[in-house]
């Protein structure tokens, strides 16, 4: 369940993170600093505050929440998708950061070369920029996935702790600790957390190495 929430969270935020990373790295515009700060906000805000803000915006009576419900019949609050949204918002800055670093390392001369060879803007991005920033995209996605697995405050505030629906691994762990005699469950959950986190890190390292070799660096 946690895995499915984390996967949804990454899937939703990935394209948006790539776009924002590109905008923040390559464009200079009015409000650039403000947007940059806004993207990084979840890093410095207490997660409970983020959850609360999400409640305000996406709750059944919130401006975006009610619109979503009326137009698409999508309900976010107290649902799995809501949990995915909360984790996505929380892990978003990590993802954007990783991508920006790798995008800054992409040689703009190569994009110019592609341009003189007849490649338009989208073509250039898809065939040159994106493949070259792939290590950062992967690293960002894996870090965000791991962070999504561990998100606690924003999830419990926004979608509560509903067994089978929004009870993610850390929430389950917390519940087990609150329940008398739940020690062994808690220990088991902690072990799973540990294993997931470690394999995430190892996987990310392996990917990064493979891509680097592919790019010949």
């Amino acid at each position: 369940m946690s895995l499915s929430i984390a996967a949804r969270s990454v899937a939703v935020s990935l394209p948006l993170a790539i776009l924002l990373a590109w905008v923040l790295t390559r464009r200079r515009f009015l409000g650039h600093t403000l947007l940059d700060a806004f993207v990084h906000l979840p890093l410095v805000l207490p997660p409970v505050v983020v959850g609360y803000l999400l409640l305000l915006l996406f709750g059944t009576r919130g401006p975006i929440g009610s619109w979503l419900q009326h137009t698409f019949g999508v309900e976010l609050i107290f649902t799995r998708n809501g949990a995915a949204l909360a984790t996505a918002v929380m892990s978003f800055p990590l993802m954007v950061r990783a991508m920006r670093i790798s995008l800054e390392n992409v040689d703009r001369g190569l994009e110019q070369a592609a341009r003189t060879l007849g490649a338009g803007a989208i073509d250039r991005f898809a065939t040159i920029t994106l493949p070259l920033m792939l290590p950062g995209v992967l690293a960002g996605a894996i870090t965000a996935f791991s962070a999504a697995l561990g998100e606690f405050g924003a999830v419990i505030t926004f979608v509560s702790n509903i067994p089978g629906e929004t009870r993610t691994l850390p929430l389950a762990l917390y519940t087990a600790l609150q329940t008398p005699g739940g020690d062994s469950t808690a220990a088991r959950l902690a072990c799973i957390s540990f294993a997931l986190g470690l394999s995430g890190l190892l996987l990310s390292e392996w990917f990064a190495r493979r891509v680097r070799r592919l790019l010949g660096r």
Partner: protein, 372 residues
Amino acid sequence: MLGVAVKKIRGSFSLEAAFELPTPGVVALFGRSGSGKSTLVNIIAGLLHPDAGRVALDDFVLLDTERGIQVPPEKRRIGYVFQDARLFPHLNVAANLAYGERRAPPQRYVSLDTVAGLLDLGGLMNRRTQQLSGGEKQRVAIGRALLSQPKLLLLDEPLASLDSARREEVLPYLELLRDQLAVPMVYVSHQFDEVLRLATYVVLMEAGSVIGQGGIGEMSLNQDLRAIIGADSMGAILDGTVLGVEQSSGLMRVAVGRGELKVQPLPVGAGAKLRVQLLARDLIVATERPQHLSVRNMLAGVITSVTGDDAESDLVAIDIGGPKIMARVTRAAVRELSLAPGLPVWALVKAVSLRSHSFAAPGATSIARPSA
């Protein structure tokens, strides 16, 4: 015809250039580092925008700030070979070559086979770009640009990052392209030996301005060129025609102007064009036809001008029946021999000074495929 008239101010550097270049042919943009050559080609390619101006290739207006026309680089059909090759690191050689070709319009004038043949790329196709030497990288970059079927090929110091051995490895390929394909090229360089091997037309740049332009023969006598390359490297560049090999001496006879030079034989047949350079310091001027000399080469002509070279010597330009040559003569000798425009003279050339400067000239069809 490539017409350029642009202005660009960038901090303390200002570029103002206007010229019309004949196409096809190889135009060399020559000048010191920082004279604005690269800025100019970037404007032609569309990668930089001038403050004002116009760029047109034949009837195709690429830029006209007055009329608000600005064709983006990807639509200009101008190939660009960068100094640092800029091969795509995530693609192998074959995919790099295909990148431009896939995006070119359907009517092609050069095929992958032709390019691979001319640039000897057959054995490199499956290599990763990181496994290529500097010279190989540039050959792939040239091939990639050519396969995008450009109407004009810009080469921005393509050999500058190579050591001299690697340069010698790539230069023959460039000569071959010039002679075998009719793509107009603009070649940026601050190495005069590259210019004299490749160019048909020279634009001389200094501090952001064009200070002279003309055919390579005419420009080789340009006084401003002397300031850049130094007096010792100055000398007439002549495109001669091979007449054949002289049986008695084994030397090759080359017609230049009304005269004839004998040079060490090259593997080219009669009728081939041969470019020779006669350094001004290697020429001796005589007012009477000299006799009993060991010098093999002598050209008769008429003095057209005598200009000061430095404190002790003058440059004497001599018309040899169309093309001109130039000799450096001490001022004392000029006075003693009364060298002045209109005077018929004989110029003596040491055969030795020709040999290392004999290159296949534009239009040559008989030069051998370079082997590398």
